[in-house]
């Protein structure tokens, strides 16, 4: 085990994938000489050469579109979208090509493309640099969508994503890039939990709190705080947003009878809506209270100085926990 930041773990995962399979090509803006604006690809170009770690011209649709062509030729492209808010120019190529080509060709052409996205807020950034677009991709059949919450998952799941024969949209919470954790760099990715499986980050008995990405740590903190008040929260880190590991989520809700889902993204038709709806359908008779969502508001991501009011925090999570326990001392906050 080695202690690494999430950023370094991702770098190690990319290096390992590049070393293991010469069909892996890493592409994006500023990822070569500079090593990426977050340095996630630091040193990779000098180690693997400019043919394998490619600085591209400034055009996201072309980055993804040429990745599709590389996949036609048998490569495994890993593309970096510089910030979450810059994925939209590539949306057409992602939705109409990356997601659909395997279906269109009835399996004759595979799209083993990994789309890495430095993601979400909480870092005091400018407009368009703190977006949570994951629901768009979850709603798009043909894609797999994952979100990591710690260095070990970052390392392992990135390698799994690159190894997957399906396209994977890979969300990296940028506010955790500097967070440290133990990483087993030698573990076989086949032995590790598959990227489609959720993780019970903290067991509990009273309330199931489902979340992903940077919010996992907030949820764990909320669980610790709640413990003092005698409430036992089970925190589930989804890891995979599409497909969702409902086996793990339903098992928990069947035990607790209460569900809170938290994410930074806007609420309307977000991932939380899907989780609440699926659980309402699948665990109706187990639910003891109305499920609750703690989410960003249905607004454009606000300016940096105000972002903390938009983001779920410990108080808002605990408020929702109170509500789901029927002891809401504040007005309902989220609907």
């Amino acid at each position: 085990m080695t202690e690494l930041t999430m950023g370094k773990a991702l770098n190690a995962g990319l290096a390992r994938a590049l070393a293991d399979d010469d069909r892996v090509v890493v592409m994006g803006e500023d990822i070569g000489t500079l090593g990426g604006v977050f340095r996630i690809t630091d040193g990779l170009q000098s180690r693997f050469g400019a043919q394998r770690v490619v600085d591209t011209p400034l055009a996201e649709s072309a980055i993804v579109g040429t990745a599709v062509g590389l996949a036609f030729r048998g490569f495994r492209p890993v593309v970096e979208i510089q910030f979450d808010g810059f994925v939209y120019p590539a949306f057409d190529q992602i939705v109409c090509q990356v997601a659909k080509l395997h279906y269109r060709t009835r399996g004759a052409v595979r799209m083993p493309i990994t789309i890495r996205i430095p993601w979400a807020g909480g870092v005091g950034a400018a407009e368009h640099h703190s977006e949570s677009p994951e629901a768009y991709f979850v709603h798009t059949a043909g894609l797999r969508v994952v979100a990591v919450s710690n260095p070990q998952d970052a390392y392992t799941m990135l390698r799994q994503a690159i190894a997957s024969d399906d396209p994977v949209v890979f969300f990296e919470p940028k506010r955790l890039y500097h967070a440290k954790g133990e990483v087993d760099l030698d573990a076989d990715i086949a032995d590790a939990a598959p990227m489609g499986v959720a993780r019970v980050a903290r067991p509990g008995t009273d309330v199931t709190l489902v979340t992903y990405g940077a919010q996992v740590q907030v949820a764990l903190d909320a669980a610790t705080a709640a413990e003092d008040e005698g409430v036992s929260i089970e925190v589930i880190d989804l890891r995979s947003l599409s497909p969702v590991d409902y086996r793990t989520v339903t098992a928990s809700v069947r035990a607790t009878g209460r569900l809170v889902v938290a994410h930074e993204a806007a609420r309307e038709a977000g991932v939380g809506a899907e989780i609440v709806a699926s659980i309402a359908e699948q665990c109706f008779e187990y639910l003891e209270a109305a499920p609750q969502r703690v989410t960003g508001f249905d607004i454009p991501y606000p300016p940096a100085k105000l972002e903390r009011h938009h983001l779920p925090d410990l108080d808002r999570m605990l408020d929702a926990v109170d509500r789901v326990l029927g002891r809401g001392h504040r007005a309902e906050v989220d609907a």
Binding site: A62, L70, T105, V109, R247
Partner: protein
């Protein structure tokens, strides 16, 4: 000011390159003529048969659609020269990324009759394995395939192959961001890709003059990609242009761009009514420039036409009969097939939907049985 301002090089190439006149005369005075000198009368007869076959297949497609056997058809009539020349100038493993209208590419690459009808019939999307024909599933999103071609060519650069990728698109497509980004990437990386714009004068109801006030071939040089504007109804000029472009690309000189000036003689698709936006005179004028007529005229002069026509007729009769059989005899896949091939690897969400859908469908059987 004129010495300072950049204007597109207006006079470089006023007229599209033509090596075979509408009267069927070969032009040998043109600098490009030498590059197709090896194409003798018999080779021309073969190209002619290819083109006639495409025309017949196209007509059969339209007929099958009119008879309700196909949901839609996008006629290629009038564009057979560039479509045929493109493929014949290539190696078999050069890879094509085309739009929905490049019927001639599929035919020249040996697509089976069923592969030409089952898509338009609505049975499947892709009708062939792209790796078999070295042709990607025809693209409907205008221009998207040009980026795929560039990416493929970048792959060739990386694995040391000698293939060239060919990006085929229309005049309307030149306005799309993707097509321009494709030129940026191709030029930046010097990728072995040939851009072939079939300027058939119309993007559905929009004349090419709405997309651009200048020849489309003028666009590429500013991106650092040399271009040629050719008579797209002249199979020799198209061949010469392709050879020039392929040669450059294969020898590592990077991308090239061809504008093939042609005409869509038919409607945009069988759903379209072109009389709403263009005149009968315009169509009549272009009929005089028919790519088949000029080769026929030449072959007639050489006494080769009759045999070429007979051979083409025979091939077309067999092929179109196959199309008809494939359409009429098509069996639609079972309902559960819609859930296949969404992913390459197992997917718990979809597996669950499949199970439930199967049970639902089984419920009907039970009801029927009960």
């Amino acid at each position: 000011m004129t010495s300072t301002v950049n204007e597109a090089a207006a006079a470089v190439q006023a007229e599209p390159v033509q090596l075979l006149t509408p009267d069927g005369e070969r032009r040998t005075d043109h600098p490009l003529a030498a590059s197709v000198a090896d194409i003798d009368d018999h080779a021309l007869a073969r190209l002619y048969r290819d083109m006639v076959l495409v025309r017949r297949i196209d007509a059969e497609g339209v007929a099958l659609q009119r008879q309700g056997q196909l949901g839609l058809w996008a006629p290629a009539e009038g564009q057979e020269a560039i479509q045929t020349a493109m493929v014949r100038a290539c190696n078999d493993d050069d890879f094509f990324f085309t739009s929905y209208r490049e019927l001639g590419v599929l035919v020249a690459r040996g697509a089976e009759p069923a592969q030409l009808v089952l898509g338009w019939r609505g049975e499947v999307f892709g009708t062939f394995d792209p790796h078999d024909l070295h042709v990607a599933t025809p693209q409907i999103i205008i221009g998207a395939q040009t980026l795929h071609a560039v990416g493929y060519a970048m792959g060739v650069q990386r694995d040391g192959g000698d293939q060239v990728a060919v990006a085929c698109f229309g005049d309307g497509a030149t306005s799309q961001g993707d097509v321009n980004e494709a030129m940026v990437f191709a030029a930046s990386f010097g990728a072995p890709v040939v851009f072939v714009c079939s300027n058939n004068q119309w993007a559905i109801s929009e004349p090419v003059g709405l997309q651009a006030h200048r020849p489309l071939a003028d666009r590429a040089p500013g991106f650092g990609i040399p271009s040629l504007r050719v008579d797209g109804n002249d199979v020799l000029a198209c061949t010469a242009a392709m050879r020039w472009a392929l040669e450059r690309a294969r020898s590592g000189e990077g991308p090239a761009y061809i504008e093939a000036v042609t005409y869509r003689l038919g409607p945009h698709t069988t759903s379209d009514d072109p009389t709403r936006y263009r005149t009968a005179e315009e169509v009549a004028l272009w009929r005089t420039r028919d790519p088949l007529l000029r080769v026929a005229a030449l072959l007639r002069g050489r006494g080769l036409l009759e045999q070429a026509d007979a051979e083409a007729d025979a091939a077309a009769a067999e092929f179109t009969a196959g199309m008809r059989r494939a359409a009429v005899g098509a069996t639609t896949r079972p309902p559960l097939a819609i859930l296949d091939h969404v992913y390459a690897e197992p997917h718990t969400g979809l597996d669950r939907q499949r199970e439930q859908f199967a049970a639902y469908l089984a419920g009907f059987d039970e009801e029927a049985g009960a």
